[in-house]
């Protein structure tokens, strides 16, 4: 039984990270109707930039590097919104979706041109020790990042629900034109959302980059968050959080308890299987807004 809880809790800790990445998707989707395929590439770029500031090109202290990385992601947010999205404002969402494919390729190409393609280690000084609580083995690194992610998630929810900017963003997400007509600057609101997505990307990039090394496959963490997103419903913040925890726990449990029978490594697709099942019964996810169409 302790083993079960150990697997469960470690899964939940990973799940919080999934929630965070999924939240990055959900925020942009809510604010601009863009399903951002570049979220994974943004994490990769953030990780690469951080390594660049820390060891590769400069030797800045950690806090300054993080700040500079955030600055780089802010520049990206401006470029994406003003150069790429502005001409596409009134186009169908599918076009915007495909434009983010372009952004993904651009980010990967530019990032790897500047910082090189080889895998780089990243260590920001968070100890990775395992310790035992009530017979359950936990990693301090996982705990730290789960904590950071949880703080970010709470912060983002608060930001969206309570602050003036957050309210403006929600207005934009409800109806672009109505928001424009009451005087909310659409493009600025988008920039804010993309900066937040950049922030999420930095945290995700650091967390996964430390564990897996900063390399091309870091972009794939987005694939972990996508099923989370559709289980929760693309436009739902609580959905992203709950689904993240469910997927994190579910895939870890499945890997340990079902995996050995059908041949291991099922983490890559198990979340998608859950997602397909959920979609079959709830086409807009568990908490997503149902779209009712009329002719």
């Amino acid at each position: 039984m302790t083993f079960f809880f150990e697997v469960l809790i470690n899964g939940l800790l990973v799940g919080i990270m999934y929630s965070l990445v999924a939240l990055g998707f959900a925020l942009i989707y809510k604010a601009s109707d863009v399903f951002n395929m570049a979220q994974g590439a943004m994490s990769l770029f953030a990780g690469l930039a951080l390594v660049g500031f820390l060891y590769q090109y400069m030797h800045l202290p950690l806090w300054l590097s993080l700040l500079c990385t955030m600055g780089v992601m802010t520049i990206w947010a401006y470029v994406i919104v003003y150069v790429i999205l502005r001409p596409l404002v009134a186009r169908p969402p599918l076009m915007l979706f495909m434009a983010t494919f372009g952004v993904m390729y651009l980010m990967e190409g530019i990032g790897q041109s500047i910082y090189g393609t080889q895998a780089k280690g990243l260590n920001i000084g968070i100890p990775d020790k395992t310790f035992e609580v009530g017979g359950i083995l936990l990693s301090s690194f996982d705990l730290t990042f789960a904590f950071v992610a949880a703080v970010l998630v709470v912060g983002l929810v608060w930001f969206f629900q309570k602050t003036r900017t957050g309210r403006a963003l929600r207005a934009v997400s409800d109806d672009h034109e109505a928001a424009l007509s009451v005087g909310i600057p659409l493009l600025k609101a988008w920039v804010v959302t993309w900066i937040i997505a950049g922030l999420v990307a930095v945290v995700a990039g650091v967390a996964w980059g430390t564990r897996l090394g900063v390399q091309f496959s870091l972009g794939y963490i987005a694939f972990k968050a996508l099923p989370v997103l559709i289980i929760g419903g693309i436009d739902s913040i609580p959905g992203a959080i709950i689904a993240g925890l469910v997927v994190g726990a579910g895939e870890n449990l499945a890997e340990v308890f079902i995996g050995p029978y059908i041949g291991g490594g099922i983490q890559t697709f198990f979340p998608y299987l859950i997602a397909l099942l959920v979609l079959y019964f709830k086409p807009y996810g568990l908490f997503g807004k149902e779209i009712i169409e009329r002719v």
Binding site: L106, F223, Y272, L279
Partner: protein, 352 residues
């Protein structure tokens, strides 16, 4: 001046329904056929045949399939490369293990892939848009996992299966020219089928579904059936393309060749080539295959040896930049550029 519609009289049904009603188009098409059937195989070097033309043809088939699904029927799929893998592995198993004739094996690869495609297309009945996109991404990961982990399919450790020698009616296919003809033959048959499919009732239905699906349902289109047919056709094309590219180009089925990045690249190809046109499928695939070559030539001006790292980075920058460029400037891709050129040619050299 040179490209005119006038003087073209559609005085029979056959003429009215012709794919190329305008003589110049027809001549152009015949010239292209002669080029690809006669001139290229006998003049191009072995490198061009086996490293440029064969992958170009195979990717064209796959992109035509994706274009039918995404461009015509409006059901975006980001797991298309996985169906190429299904086609590749099933064709190899049919040919290598069961000894079924080569052409039938390739066809079988397509059919198996089509059935798998129907299964993964089932969610499209209830969901659409981004939800569907992610559901198709699920097919990518599930198929990849099944192929790698179920030894019956992949045999090897990393899902690598060597292709056996290829025989058609006892004739050994081993030179690039023969493989070229194999790929070209399939491409011509499938492209003609696709062109006629999208011109017919089914294609009209697909376009109606793409434009406004509930309106399409109200005017009596069977969404259930037509969406599934779109999935089946698209994945059938992907399967054949996967089988061909494995037999003629890679020489071994390897799951890494059908990675999710390939699915993304296929989407990039339909955007750059032109959504909802068959011509665009060729242009997009051709562009994708030729891009590394262009970069090599271009960068070769500045440096002695172009590192593969630089090339792949430049590739993704140019590819991404062009996706964005085309979406902003010309959402219907290179195919629309071709139309613009034709419009200009109609008057040229006179101003009006």
């Amino acid at each position: 001046m040179f490209y005119r519609e006038c003087g073209v009289y559609k005085d029979s049904y056959a003429r009215d329904m012709a794919i190329f009603p305008i003589p110049l188009d027809r001549y152009g098409f015949i010239v292209m056929l002669i080029l690809s059937l006669v001139v290229i195989p006998w003049t191009a070097s072995e490198y061009w045949l086996s490293n440029i033309m064969i992958p170009f043809y195979c990717f064209s088939i796959s992109v035509i399939g994706l274009n039918i699904l995404a461009g015509y029927a409006g059901q975006i799929s980001i797991g298309h490369a996985a169906f190429m893998a299904v086609g590749a592995y099933s064709a190899l198993i049919l040919y290598g293990r069961f000894g079924i004739p080569l052409l039938l094996s390739i066809l079988g690869g397509g059919i198996v892939s089509g059935f798998v495609g129907i299964v993964f297309g089932l969610p499209s009945l209830r969901i659409k848009g981004f939800y569907l996109a992610i559901a198709t991404l699920a097919s990518q990961f599930i198929i990849q996992w099944v192929i790698v982990h179920w030894k019956w399919f992949s045999g090897g450790v990393f899902g690598t299966v060597e292709t056996p020698d290829m025989h058609i009616f006892g004739w050994l296919l081993d030179t690039p020219v023969e493989k070229y003809y194999l790929a070209l033959g399939w491409l011509i048959i499938l492209a003609v089928c696709a062109k006629n499919l999208v011109r017919g009732q089914l294609g009209r239905n697909w376009q109606a579904i793409r434009d406004v699906d509930y309106a399409a349902e109200i005017i009596g289109i069977n969404l259930y059936r037509d969406k599934l047919i779109a999935f089946a056709v698209a994945t059938f094309y992907a399967g054949i393309a996967g089988a061909l590219i494995t037999f003629c180009y890679y020489g071994a089925a390897n799951i890494e060749e059908f990675h999710v990045m390939v699915s993304f690249a296929l989407i990039g190809m339909i955007i750059i080539g032109g959504m909802g046109t068959i011509l665009g499928s060729f242009l997009g695939a051709g562009f994708f295959v030729l891009l590394p070559l262009f970069i090599n030539r271009f960068m070769g001006i500045f440096m002695e040896v172009v590192a593969s790292e630089i090339r792949s980075n430049m590739e993704s920058i140019i590819f991404g930049g062009l996706i964005v460029f085309f979406l902003i400037v010309e959402p219907y891709g290179m195919a629309r550029l071709w139309h613009t050129i034709k419009d200009k040619l109609r008057l040229w050299p006179f101003p009006y």
